[in-house]
Structure formats: structure tokens, C-alpha cells
């Protein structure tokens, strides 16, 4: 048995504690700008963690670089503040080496989708059991306001005074294209919803990707207000619920219907359509997930929020362990001397 496992096994069992949110607050002062959406994300994560029944010494938060990536400092758990874009790669190595740990990644739209895009999509396809919280504020916060890969076309920022000219990534569509097994979206200003999505991500077996609309009140204030503020929220957001028809609107009087493959908004008021005519959400339907993800590209449609897709696939790290135990079964525990002697050798008297 290796030293890590042995050492940890021989420790006195940690006392069964009932955690509260406070237990997950570290001793570091939180250094985000007052009013930053990151505070809410931190609060919701700290609120949900106690429910998961994971002892906090088994919990690791890994991040890259960015305001969002300061997250691990504020969680009283094991924390790893990495380098820009590499959180998912660091977390992959950690989780493969230590499947017994619960590994979360906190990243941003720059960290996770610009410099870190490749590691992210490879993690999605490998399906290592890591939970990714991507704080999408559609801006580079820490470097003081350049546009990001999720900033809308024409975005005027420090680095694009005449407006950006690139079509942004749709993070849901990208991760679905990379065949992630869990894809969801939530809102910094909807604590309950965020808590639910975090619970779902935690419960998922495999790579879970969660995009969080997060307000950067200093460099991109209000980017998501349409979806988060009372006045507009109900008419702009489609809250997805598995098995439920897609209804939205202040009066819950509008719904999504498919015409061909194109989602369209219909009114339930005129009596022409009823709930039964509407698209019903099915988290497990791969094709539907693409339709829902793409809705974000169409301004006339409400923005889907919630668990867009969830499926099961073999876990990378589990397969690795399986290959090892198979090898041990077949060849027996490795013996160094045997290894050095195996194959062709000869002896000099």
C-alpha cells in the first residue's frame, strides 16, 4: 500500500461533524470588489457544501488566475491557486492520482475559455469526476477590463475601443460539443437556483460544467441584468425542469414550441396553444441539449437556465484504477528485482 493511503488510513478518524456554511469560510479576508457577483457564488457554495456530507479535508478547490480564481483562498478546504488556464489540467492530475478526493474547479471566462480552453474541452471528453464552476462575467476582471471570449460581438473595452470583432463562445454549446456529461447554467443573483445547480453538479458522476452568469460591477456592470433583475427576469429566462413543459413569463403564460428544429415562443394566453403543445425538458436528450444551448444565440428567445444536459459515461480515473487492479491480478504486485531481472540477462562469474 502506498504511503499516502497508508498515512491517511492510520489517522484517527475525523470526528463526525455537522457542518454549517461558516465552517467553510477560511481565515483569509475576501478581496473582491464590493458588490462583485463572486460574493454570491462563494456564499452559495459555502451554503451547499454542508449538505454534501463531504468532510472538508477531502475537499479540494483548484483554480487558475483571475478574480474568480481567488475563490479557493476563501474556502476553508484544501485550495490550489494555479496558473492561468491550467486549473482543469492540475485538477485532472490530482483526481487521477487521488480518486478519493472531491475536486472542484473555479475558473473564469478568460481562464477557462481563453487560455484554458483546450484543457477544459479535453477534461469534458475524458469525463474525470471534477466539478467546474465557470464564473462568466464576459470580461477580464483582474487585468482591468479587456473583452473575453464570451463578450458579445462589438464589445467596447480597453483593448477593443472600436468594438470587438469576434463571435463569442457559447460555453454550453462548446462543452456539449466536447461531449461533457453534465452541462448547466445558473445566475449569481438567484441564490436558490444556484444552490440547486451546485447540488446537482455535486451529485453528478463525471465532469460537471456549470456556467454562472456573474456580474462584474466594475468593468462590465449589468451584463446579465436582463436575466437577473426583477423587472425583466421572468420574461427573459427559461427555467429548465426535467420532465416539465417549457413555460416562462411573469404570468407563466408563454412557452417554447419546436417548429422543425427551431424553438419558437408561443403564447398560452390566446388558448391556441396549451402546455401539452410545448417542448418538454429532458436532461438526458443529447439533441435537445444542443437546441437549448443554441437558444442563447437567439435574442428573441428566453435564456435557458438550469441543468441543460446530464448523462453517464465511464469515469476516466475509475478505468485507470481498474487497469491497475487488473494488472496486479494478472502479474501480481510489482516486484522491483523481478522487473530488473526479467527478459534477457546473463551472468559473469
Amino acid at each position: 500500500m502506498n504511503l499516502a493511503t497508508e498515512t491517511l488510513q492510520h489517522l484517527p478518524p475525523a470526528p463526525e461533524v455537522k457542518y454549517t456554511a461558516k465552517d467553510f469560510q477560511s481565515d483569509q479576508d475576501v478581496r473582491w470588489c464590493p458588490g462583485c457577483g463572486d460574493y454570491s457564488i462563494l456564499a452559495q457554495v459555502q451554503r451547499v457544501m454542508p449538505e454534501l456530507g463531504i468532510p472538508k479535508h477531502k475537499l479540494v478547490f483548484v483554480s487558475g488566475i483571475g478574480c474568480s480564481s481567488r475563490f479557493p483562498y476563501y474556502m476553508d478546504a484544501y485550495g490550489f491557486h494555479g496558473i492561468h488556464g491550467r486549473a482543469t489540467a492540475i485538477a485532472s492530475g490530482l483526481k487521477i492520482a487521488r480518486p478519493d478526493l472531491t475536486v472542484w474547479v473555479a475558473t473564469g471566462d478568460g481562464d477557462g475559455l481563453s487560455i484554458g480552453g483546450n484543457h477544459l474541452i479535453h477534461l469534458c471528453r475524458r469525463n474525470i469526476d471534477i466539478k467546474i464552476l465557470l464564473f462568466n462575467n464576459q470580461i477580464y476582471g483582474l487585468t482591468k477590463g479587456q473583452y473575453s471570449p464570451t463578450s458579445e460581438f462589438g464589445k467596447v473595452t480597453k483593448s477593443t475601443p472600436a468594438g470587438s470583432v469576434d463571435h463569442p463562445f457559447n460555453p454550453l454549446l462548446l462543452t456539449l460539443g466536447a461531449e461533457a456529461t453534465f452541462v448547466a447554467r445558473t445566475l449569481d443573483r438567484d441564490p436558490k437556483h444556484m444552490q440547486n445547480v451546485i447540488r446537482r453538479a455535486a451529485a453528478h458522476k463525471g465532469t460537471a460544467f456549470v456556467e454562472i452568469y456573474q456580474n462584474c460591477n466594475v468593468f462590465n456592470d449589468g451584463a446579465f441584468f436582463q436575466f437577473t433583475e426583477k423587472e425583466t427576469k421572468d420574461d427573459s429566462v427559461l427555467f429548465l425542469e426535467h420532465g416539465k413543459p417549457m413555460i416562462f413569463g411573469k404570468e407563466k403564460n408563454r412557452g417554447i414550441r419546436l417548429d422543425g428544429f427551431t424553438p419558437t415562443v408561443v403564447s398560452l394566453a390566446e388558448g391556441k396553444y396549451s402546455a401539452s403543445d410545448l417542448l418538454v425538458h429532458n436532461e438526458n436528450d443529447t439533441m435537445l441539449s444542443f437546441i437549448l444551448a443554441r437558444m442563447s444565440n437567439i435574442p428573441s428567445l428566453p435564456r435557458p437556465v438550469g441543468v441543460v444536459y446530464a448523462t453517464e459515461r465511464p469515469l476516466y480515473e475509475v478505468e485507470v484504477e481498474r487497469q491497475i487492479s487488473r494488472a496486479v491480478q494478472k502479474q501480481g504486485e510489482g516486484e522491483l528485482q523481478k522487473l530488473l531481472y526479467h527478459g534477457e540477462t546473463w551472468t559473469i562469474k
Partner: protein, 609 residues
């Protein structure tokens, strides 16, 4: 008929043919048989960057050189005594490495119109007198192979593929080696294809018989066993030795080995080898790129594994930023760079020693990393083990420099008794009382290794400057200066825990030849030759390049001149100058090839005349 037998001290043979002709395999068979009969030896494979270059082309030539003898053998041989050339291109490319009067065995069937044209021969060199200064033996190997297999009714593809065994058979005869080891090997290797097995066996024997019976070989040779120290031996390449050295470190530290790597020539075989030993709980992660390779290994180290990443020059460059992170985190990590010809993509399949300064300085800001290098294929085992020991003892990334010549070269290895290998004592911090992530060990200055999963040690680390002891983020000016200097101090202190450098030959004199890494054999040979001639010259070979061993100044002070041969533009030389203000004479070669010892001998002569 009986032929007279000549005894030789050492012989160098070069097998050369198309990439498709199986020359590597032939060479490897000759190698193990030669090792088996107890000669000392050294080999140098030399193959094209292309996978299977079109037949007959000059750039498609694949060669394998073996130098073996009764005496101690330290290099694959400067020039060869026998050249086996399966086609004109092979002859053209390799002729200049054959000594005057050397033997050529040419497959005359390979010297057809097309091949001669592809090799750029106007006339057939086997037929004009252009090879007069050599002992030429034209043998219609292809034809003879077909004859040997006539009654088996095999496709020409199969028959053609076995002709290398004919050449091998001839060499076995010529140098009085047994065929049994190869017969055994063929039996195992081709168990699944009996007809191929049968064919190869027949052809091998035919080759031997041909030497025995034909007139053309007047003599055969004998190379008596070398007087190697007793024990159990195997032939091993640098990459195998590296992989096994890491496994040994994993066993002796009782840590799981995690390799995060991205394939690259000439380092890939380490990944391949490690991936075959899952029963040692070795985890190999083929990452999406070199950055994921090293960062995943850092993640694994953070989790309590022996984290390792392997690569070559271009990949090293990509890992630079992450190496800096490892320095800041003070986690154990071994970065193995199997150097190849550069810059940029350069000469992927050729060897070079030009990554030394990158290894030492190739990171932003002050990010000191220990650097050690292996000096022979088998020494990669000990060096990989030592790199791991330093990483684990001092909680630091360590760079292990190998090179293409060591990686693919092979030599006999006296297999160590595992129980003689030291344990690498690692203890994880578990006591929350008085725990601080950056509270250092007084002797080694190493910080505690507290792995996730340990109750009460929850803490946070990262790439921002940390506060002494607590490890909290700190922008404080004095703290930064303190931390920069203590990180440097920690690396410098490694010098306290390593053996003193020792000189081969007299400990004082006219000239000291200082080398590092894969040039060991060539320098050792050259220095011994010159010492036998009575020259006052000694040899110092450095395994530890950062930090240097403490007794170097004392050693240097006892020699009038210092010669530094390197396969680069003088990188170690620069380090010695800046560190010791030592006036060195730099001998540099940068051709993608190892030194020939004569090149070093000449340099010694120049300095001592």
C-alpha cells in the same frame, strides 16, 4: 573448410539499410548476443526522422552501430571496422565512417539501377574500383535468401523481410557468436506466425553456413569476453533505465508514480515503458500537451504522488511557466528532458546537449531548480532515482537531463541488488498542531508535505508570493526578498547532501577535461588514451549541474588548464566561468552526433603540445 581465426580486442560494426530493412532489429539482436557472450559494448542507433522514407533514398537510410570488445568499451566507436550495406544509399551515407582497410559486406542484389540512381551513383561502386581501399565483399543476399526459402512458397514480401537475418548470420559467423540466443528470440517473437518464424530461422542459419562454406571470407574473428565485474547483467537503453529508475524511486519512497507526459521524440519511450508497469501502481497520463503534462504531474504531487513529466527541448520550453509554479509551490516534481538537436524542431532524432542553460535559466524571475544529468545509458537508472530523491527530500522540482544518444544507446548493465538501493524516506505532515504550510525544515529548508485528505491541515497554496511560514499571499517587500533568497538557499543547500566530485586519473596536473552528461564515454576514452601516452590529463565528469558540488574549486585549483568538451556552443563552460571565474577552453561540436573520442584527443594534444 577450416578457416584461421584472428583475435581482436575490439570491433565496431555498422549495419545500414533502408528504414524497412530491419537494421535496428538486426543490430539489437547482434547486441544481445554479444552481451550474452560477455563482451563489453556500446551501441548507437541512427535512424531518419521519417517513419518509412521511400526505399532506396539517402534520407531513408537507417543505421545501427555496435562497438564491442574484450577491453572496457565506453563509446559506440569513432569509425567502424565492418560496414554491412544493404543498398547503395546505405553505402553512400555510411562509407565515410568506415576506416581505411575496413570490411564492406554489400548486398549486391540491392545495387540495381533504381537504387544506384536514388543514391546518386553514376556507376556501380561494387563494380568499379572506387572501393579499393576497403575489403569489399559483394554478396547477393536477396537471392541467397530466396534460395533458402524456395520450397516454402512464401510471398516475396515475407522473404524480402527476412534477408536481414542472412546478414546477421554472416556476422555471427564472422565474429564467432552463437546463433542460439537469436533462434530463441525468433521462436518467441514469431510464435504466432510459424511460417515467418521458420523463414527467419532458415535464413539466419543460411547466413552462418554461407560464411562457413564460401571462399570469400578468408578469416573469421574472435573477440574474447571482457573482464567485467561478476554479477548478473542485462543490456539496457537510457530510456528503459530512466523509466525503471523512476519505478525504483517510487518503490523506495512508497509513493505512487504519476507520469504526466506528451509524446515527443526521443523521450516517448519512457512514457511507453512506464505505461507497461501498471502492476507497480504506475499511472501514466498522456496529456493533451506538455503544459497539461507538467501541470497534471504537479496536481498529482500535490496529492501525494511522485509526480514526473518527461519531454524533449520544445516541450521543455512549453513547460517553463509551470516549472516556475512548482518552484513557488515547493512541491516535489521531476522534469526529465531528453535533449535533441535544435533550435525549434531542429533535428528531432539527433542528439545534443544544448538545453543546459534553458534548464538552469529558462523561467521568469528567480526560480532556481536543481539540474542533474546522466552520463551513460545505464546511468540513467541511478540519475532518475537521484533526481527523485532530491525532489522528495527538498520539496522541489528537479530537472533530469538525458539526451537522444543516451536514450536510444544501449550498454551492458550490472543489475543492482534492489535491497542495496537506499530508501527515500518521505513522511507526510499529519499533525495539525503547529502546522504551517511554509514552516521549513531547519536542515533542508523543505516545507512540510500536507496532502489533501489530512484532517485539520486544510490550507491553500498558489503561485503568488507567499508569506514566510504561513504561506498566505503576501505583497510585503521584505518578505518577498526573504522568500526569494531562501528559495535559492534551499537549492544551494542540496550541495550539502551529495557526494563530492571525484577526478578520474591523477588529482592534479596539466590538464583537466571537464564534461557532463552523455559525453562521458568519449571523454573517458580520450583521456585514457592520452594518459597511456604519458600526458598529464585527468577527467572530471559532472552529474550535478545545479548546485555544483562544493569541492569543485579545490579540484580546479590543482590543474593548469581546463578543457570543457560539449555538444553545444559552450554552455557548461559559461556556467563555470560565471561561477568560478575559471578560464576554460571550450571544445564544442554541434552536429547532432556524439563526440568521437579522437576529436577530444586532438583537443588534448593541442593544449598539451
Amino acid at each position: 573448410m577450416a578457416k584461421d581465426v584472428q583475435n581482436l580486442d575490439d570491433v565496431t560494426i555498422r549495419f545500414a539499410g533502408d528504414s524497412g530493412d530491419g537494421m535496428q532489429l538486426t543490430g539489437m539482436q547482434f547486441t544481445s548476443t554479444t552481451a550474452f557472450v560477455g563482451n563489453d559494448l556500446s551501441t548507437l542507433p541512427d535512424y531518419p526522422a521519417e517513419i518509412r522514407a521511400p526505399a532506396g533514398t539517402l534520407f531513408g537510410v537507417s543505421g545501427f552501430q555496435i562497438h564491442f570488445g574484450t577491453t572496457e568499451i565506453n563509446t559506440p566507436g569513432d569509425t567502424c571496422d565492418v560496414l554491412v550495406a544493404m543498398n547503395p544509399a546505405a553505402l553512400k551515407v555510411n562509407l565515410r565512417s568506415l576506416r581505411k582497410g575496413g570490411i564492406i559486406i554489400a548486398n549486391s542484389d540491392g545495387f540495381n539501377e533504381k537504387n544506384l540512381r536514388l543514391a546518386g551513383y553514376e556507376a556501380n561502386p561494387l563494380e568499379d574500383d572506387s572501393l579499393d581501399q576497403f575489403q569489399l565483399h559483394s554478396v547477393n543476399i536477396t537471392q541467397l535468401t530466396q534460395n533458402a526459402l524456395a520450397d516454402l512458397g512464401l510471398s516475396t514480401k515475407v522473404t524480402d523481410r527476412s534477408k536481414n537475418f542472412f546478414a546477421l548470420g554472416m556476422m555471427y559467423w564472422m565474429f564467432s557468436r552463437p546463433v542460439e540466443p537469436t533462434l530463441k528470440w525468433i521462436g518467441e517473437k514469431f510464435a504466432k506466425t510459424p511460417e515467418v518464424m521458420e523463414a527467419n530461422i532458415r535464413v539466419l542459419k543460411a547466413g552462418v553456413a554461407y560464411g562457413e562454406t564460401t571462399e570469400i571470407f578468408a578469416v573469421r574473428y574472435e573477440v574474447k569476453p571482457a573482464s567485467l565485474s561478476p554479477g548478473r547483467y542485462r543490456s539496457i537503453t537510457g530510456n528503459e533505465a530512466t523509466a525503471w529508475g523512476f519505478i525504483a524511486a517510487s518503490v523506495k519512497s512508497r509513493l505512487e508514480l504519476f507520469l504526466g507526459s506528451y509524446p515527443i521524440t526521443p523521450a516517448s519511450d519512457i512514457l511507453h515503458e512506464l505505461s507497461r508497469h501498471k502492476n507497480f501502481h504506475v499511472k501514466t497520463f498522456q496529456a493533451e500537451d506538455e503544459i497539461a503534462g507538467i501541470t497534471s504531474a504537479i496536481g498529482a504531487s500535490y496529492g501525494g504522488s511522485l509526480g514526473i513529466t518527461t519531454t524533449s527541448g520544445p516541450g521543455m520550453a512549453l513547460k517553463s511557466e509551470a516549472m516556475g509554479l512548482a518552484v513557488m509551490l515547493e512541491l516535489p516534481l521531476v522534469i526529465c528532458d531528453v535533449q535533441r538537436g535544435g533550435p525549434s524542431t531542429g533535428l528531432p532524432t539527433k542528439t545534443e546537449q544544448a538545453d543546459l542553460l534553458q534548464a538552469i535559466h529558462g523561467r521568469n524571475s528567480e526560480a532556481p531548480i536543481p539540474v542533474i544529468a546522466a552520463l551513460s545509458p545505464a546511468d540513467c537508472f541511478a540519475t532518475a532515482f537521484e533526481a527523485s530523491r532530491i525532489a522528495l527530500t527538498y520539496m522541489t522540482p528537479v530537472i533530469f537531463l538525458s539526451d537522444g544518444y543516451l536514450a536510444n544507446g544501449a550498454e551492458p548493465w550490472l543489475i543492482p541488488d534492489v535491497s542495496s538501493l537506499p530508501d527515500i524516506g518521505v513522511t507526510f505532515r499529519t499533525d495539525p498542531k503547529g502546522f504551517f504550510p511554509y514552516l521549513r525544515d531547519e536542515k533542508t529548508l523543505a516545507r512540510p508535505w500536507a496532502v489533501p485528505g489530512t484532517p485539520g491541515l486544510e490550507h491553500r497554496i498558489g503561485g503568488l508570493e507567499k508569506q514566510h511560514i504561513t504561506g498566505n499571499v503576501s505583497y510585503d517587500a521584505e518578505n518577498h526578498e526573504f522568500m526569494v533568497r531562501i528559495r535559492q538557499e534551499k537549492i544551494d543547500r542540496i550541495a550539502e547532501g551529495i557526494p563530492a566530485a571525484s577526478v578520474e586519473g591523477p588529482s592534479s596536473g596539466e590538464l583537466l577535461v571537464v564534461g557532463w552528461g552523455g559525453t562521458y564515454g568519449a571523454i573517458r576514452t580520450a583521456v585514457e588514451v592520452k594518459r597511456r601516452e604519458g600526458k598529464s590529463v585527468s577527467h572530471l565528469h559532472l552529474k550535478y549541474l545545479n548546485p555544483f558540488q562544493k569541492n569543485l574549486p579545490a579540484i580546479f585549483s590543482r590543474f593548469r588548464k581546463v578543457l570543457v568538451p560539449e555538444l553545444n556552443l559552450g554552455q557548461l563552460s559559461q556556467l563555470l566561468k560565471s561561477r568560478y571565474l575559471l578560464p576554460t577552453v571550450s571544445l564544442t561540436k554541434i552536429q547532432g552526433l556524439p563526440f568521437r573520442s579522437v576529436e577530444i584527443e586532438n583537443a588534448i594534444d593541442d593544449l598539451l603540445k
